[in-house]
């Protein structure tokens, strides 16, 4: 499995946010995208997720351009946005029913993705009463409904405590190991450690960056 992003561009009025973004990645990898606030990281993910349209460029999965095949993109690409994609006043079960049919949901809870995420433990809890870690695990559970081979995550462990981060990262490791491709935006060195390739976004351009665990080097680059 391979994806290729070619010459992707996006402008807001006169401001060009993304310029000629090009990179490729295969299954079982994790791509980290870093950058200052407002540099265009989330815009890039939202273009790939289909939340907004790119001005130009292509997003290939194998050899088909997903920008021209909405249905396929919806099936192949999972997306976990920064804000919680959950309805606060409903239970975990009710939220999952938005994305799964009843039978699949029961199956996933017994021996599938949701079991791995540990969602079954707080299924009947109302979202508003869940911890940040629970909400994030449930959000990933929602995004994984069609078992997409590509998962886009917008700062997946932001604002979580270490325990919360641990639970999420453990699952992401497992997803990667099973052949999934992760593309995540991040500011967090812990998240970056699981990335196979890192890019820093500056002035709308992606620059490859080898993260060696030295936070001072990273800060200088950004």
């Amino acid at each position: 499995m391979e994806i290729r992003i070619e010459h992707l561009s996006k402008s807001f009025g006169k401001k060009q946010v993304l310029r000629d973004i090009t990179f490729s990645a295969g299954g079982g990898k994790c791509i980290g995208i870093l950058g200052a606030n407002g540099c265009g990281k989330s815009t890039l993910l939202s273009l790939l997720a289909g939340v907004r349209r790119a001005d130009g460029g292509a997003f290939y999965f194998e050899n088909s351009n997903l920008f021209q095949d909405e249905k396929r993109r919806q099936h192949l690409v999972g997306y976990v946005p920064q804000g919680t994609p959950l309805v606060e006043e409903l239970s975990g079960w009710d939220n999952l029913l938005l994305w799964y049919d009843r039978q699949t949901l029961k199956k996933e809870l017994s021996d599938g993705v949701l079991k791995v995420l540990g969602v079954d433990a707080f299924l009947k809890t109302t979202v508003s009463k869940m911890s940040g870690g629970m909400k994030k695990r449930l959000s990933i559970g929602c995004a994984m409904a069609q078992k997409p081979p590509v998962l886009l995550l917008d700062e997946p462990t932001a604002a979580l405590d270490l325990n919360g981060k641990k639970g999420i990262l453990q699952y992401l490791f497992q997803y990667k190991k099973s052949g999934g491709l992760l593309i995540m935006t991040s500011h967090d060195p812990i998240e970056l450690e699981m990335c196979d390739e890192c890019y820093i976004m500056r002035d709308g351009v992606l620059h490859p960056f080898a993260y060696d665990g030295n936070i001072h080097n990273l800060m200088e680059k950004i």
């Binding site: 265009g40 939202s46 946005p81 919680t84 006043e89 009710d94 029913l97």
Partner: protein, 396 residues
Amino acid sequence: MKKYLQLQFKRMRKTMVLVILVAAFLVCGIYAVYQATVTRWSAENSTEKFTIAMVGTADDALLRLGISAAQTMDASRFTVELVEMEEKQASDALYAGEIAAYIVVPDGFLDHALQGELIPLKFVSETGGKTILTVVKQELSAAVSNLVLSSEQGSFALYDALTALGHGDIAYQEMNNLANLYAGQIFNRDNLFSVEYIGVSEGLDFEKALLCGLSVLLLMLMSIPFAGVFVRDSYGLERLLCSKGVGAFKQVLSELMLYGLSMLILVTAAMWAFSKGAPKYLLAGIPVALCIASLCLMIYSITEHLVSAVILQMLLGVGMCFVSGCIYPISFFPASIQSLARFLPTGVIKTHFSGVLLGRSVQETGLLLTAFSVFFFTVCVGVRKYRIVHHKGGIL
């Protein structure tokens, strides 16, 4: 979209208990205000003298004499005060609540009456209730009874006079002719006057106008608990839905369908509570429910915090209801505000309800409300699209 619709249904179901509690509280409060106002109004009207304007009597000395006599000698002087006015002046005075009714005496009324021809008087009132009309009918019935008695006396007097003058051969026939003429007029007394109601508000009497106005206010306020469902501080769910092909249009449409349905239930329940006529209002309530639901959704879309949304909804609801004459009779406002009120959603809803109560066609107001709904819906979709892309916590 179907699953999102089901999700909205679950959210509504969770909120419905609170909505019903608020609605019950508001219904009780507003019904108490309604009852108190109507009781006070009825009490004031039962102790006050009715002022009736007479139109078309100024040029006729005999009619003026009759009015003067009625005001000084007749028993009706304790309940009715008669004043002379021009028709335009009388109409304005009626709208301003200065008189209870006016009677238009047509040209040549007396000449025709003296020839035995009865031209109906026109009775114009702002109320369809039993008050002023009952008084006038009682007065006219008493007058007709006197007329019957006098006409009998007149017939016999004619017979006596003709016999005394040596015309005994034709006396009986002439007496019969005169009696027939009287009978023809007296038995036809239903045509003594025609009644026309102009109403204080779009043809409604005080009670019904108040009912319509307060219903609109009630509907604007009782959907406030829905703010908790629709005001968002995060657009994560909307973004994820968008990435799965459920865009802003489908999202807002699903929300509007459920919200509209809930509002329709509330509209029908509110009207039933007031008038026990739910089935009648169900169909007519659809454009009203859609308009209020889309207006509220628009308010929830443009505000980002629950408190702001509730305050805005309250201010907008009460403000528009006031300007539209739902709380205070619109005839007391300047003409410019009255014109403005016609184009406010609350004003159109009130006119729509008035039409339903009076059995008039409500197609025009129904279409106008639908147009309002489409406008509010379009704004909602536009704002949702903007928020999905630009809301904080997000994209840029």
